[in-house]
Symmetry: C2
Subunit: 345 residues, 2 copies
DNA sequence: CTGAAAGCGCTTACAG
DNA sequence: CTGAAAGCGCTTACAG
């Protein structure tokens, strides 16, 4: 770790710019930081000097004095196997990276699947190496959000935190309207004539697991369809768990004519199980997914599903975080979903 | 951007540690940087003082003086639509993040799909804000690798750069053995009795596009099968392009009995086109993919494919980059692939 | 082995 | 509006 490439010459500093512009370093710095208290003439010559020298601010020096790093962490505490398999993750990560880049803010990617990794990242963040955190973590048991807010770090979570109590009121979040999306889909299934509608829910410690199931129950009740726990199974958002849940549902209720599945990936598993059982989709059984991920298009038949506005979710997360960095209080943003009709239902 | 959370008190500095340990700041710093020229007794008291104060080094101050940022960029110059859709991307990104985290090195994620984004990121990197770059970019026309090495930045590319000339000899890379993987698969198809073996190649300006096609041609020749350009089509690694290519191949050679496809995603498209044409897989036509991505398992039937060792690719990329940061010369690493048998061939 | 001191590049009151 | 100066927290020769 000792060698420095000799071809790499030392970049120009604020001092070089000041000399070329014929002003003091303080004036250059003031120009860089908003241009207040800088005369138009001075501003002009500084601008020209910056161009001429190719000056780029040294963020380390700036951070040392301001106490802010100018960067943001994208922290993934989800056990990575599951979430990295989720195509939504890419859209979210890309969106956040882009939205931050528009503000010249680098994104540090941090993965904390294990407890040890969580601690290491927490120390790093608490040491002030990032100004704020975009948090992706959907499980209740996860103490990271609380620890971060306790440490005074601005945090914006992706998805509604489950089991929020009073102490976590400081936590901002951005989420799609899971409940409303579920309601739309089940209403659609009923409207297309289905009556024995099963569901494969997500884990009960995730917002998607709770609210999508809640919406399903509500619409069934509103339609006067009797509640039936035999029509309800749960998975862990993986493809395999969807297949297992569907097999179980078919055993309990062989007469089911629709399955509302809480994720596209699980819906792929449901399709496989239905095929293995000799059921035709959508003729015998309608299958509806959730997410409108690439998995929905890869499925055969292509999935009717609920689109989550991932592009907007990512830009909103960044917007809310930057607002907090600027001193505004935490806020919650819930975004509408959209029903996408394809071949499976 | 002005408010500082008042609850966030100033973290301990090296000065606090020195005071508690009863030594000078220089001694603490020497302890932190390898412990050379520090007596065992001093080391002990410093260690205790660090624990007691909860000291964490201020990386900005360190970077300011060492000229090194202690961080690394993961730079994606691929037009993002395509590569973010690629499930391999996740595995690679996660692997690199983890491998770097083991060395306490943060990863900055940078996306440069457009020319403007490339320039912005290039400026950021050349300004010394990262020590090295893990580069993902598979297209020849892409000047980023050259610009980075010209600027004296250590770079490790993922995949063999196409059209390398003498001037890019400084560029390290880590890649799977595409040619050998393609040879294995075509040999397997021949061994299972196929004789009219078509291929859907990748873009000719990507290493996968060149070497997988090259391996295909070689084995056909070695087996004494006549070369036939009608059996060769190309896609752009997207699912749709695979479907289009397969449709074209079926028109030109309706008698084909196998298709070797240069990616699993394109193979999904090939499967769809074959199904639409009424061909059974693998009975009428064997289909083989490449990558062993999640797409291979999502396909129906599940794909026989070539596994790329993405875990090893990512750890090797990080190893080679760290070696370069330590002063070692660039190097190339080519990793073996593995044939995975499933239902499609 | 260890301390005192200089300096990395920047920002920010403080005077003028 | 602008300059001179202090200081952010650290590393590194330099003496001892």
């Amino acid at each position: 770790m000792t060698m420095q490439n000799p071809a790499r010459r030392r970049p120009p500093t604020i001092h070089d710019v000041a000399r070329v512009a014929g002003v003091s370093r303080g004036t250059v710095s003031r120009f860089l930081n908003g241009g207040h208290h800088v005369s138009p003439a001075a501003a002009e010559s500084v601008k020209a000097a910056i161009r001429r020298t190719g000056y780029v601010v040294n963020r380390h020096a700036r951070s040392l004095i301001t106490g802010r790093s100018g960067s943001v962490a994208f922290l993934l505490t989800e056990p990575q196997e599951r979430f990295f398999e989720d195509p939504n993750f890419n859209v979210l990560l890309r969106g956040c990276t882009r939205a931050l880049a528009a503000h010249d803010i680098p994104l540090l990617l941090m993965i904390a699947g294990t407890r040890a990794e969580q601690q290491r990242n927490l120390r790093f963040i608490a040491a002030g190496h990032v100004d704020g955190v975009l948090l992706v973590s959907s499980h209740t048991g996860d103490p990271v959000a609380q620890q971060l807010t306790d440490a005074g770090i601005p945090v914006v979570a992706c998805g509604k935190p489950v089991g929020r109590d009073g102490t976590s009121a400081r936590l901002s979040y951005v989420a799609a309207d899971d409940r409303s999306g579920a309601r739309d889909m089940v209403r659609y299934l009923i409207a297309s004539g289905r009556r024995r509608i099963a569901t494969v829910a997500g884990p009960p410690d995730t917002p998607g697991g709770v609210d999508r199931l809640g919406g399903y129950r509500e619409i069934l009740a509103e339609a006067g369809l009797p509640p039936d726990e035999d029509l309800i199974a749960a998975g862990d958002y993986s493809r395999d768990s969807g297949a297992r849940a569907a097999t179980e549902l078919l055993t309990r209720r062989p007469d089911l004519d629709a399955v509302f599945v809480a994720s596209d990936l699980m819906a792929q598993g449901v399709l496989a199980a239905l095929e293995a059982a000799g059921r035709r989709v959508p003729e015998d059984v309608a299958v509806a997914g959730f997410d409108d991920s690439p998995a929905a298009l890869a499925a055969r038949p292509e999935l009717t599903t609920i689109r989550q506005p991932w592009d907007r979710i990512s830009t909103e997360m960044v917007r809310v975080l930057l607002a907090q960095l600027a001193g505004e209080p935490p806020s919650a943003v819930v975004l509408p979903t959209e029903l996408i009709r394809r071949a499976s239902a």
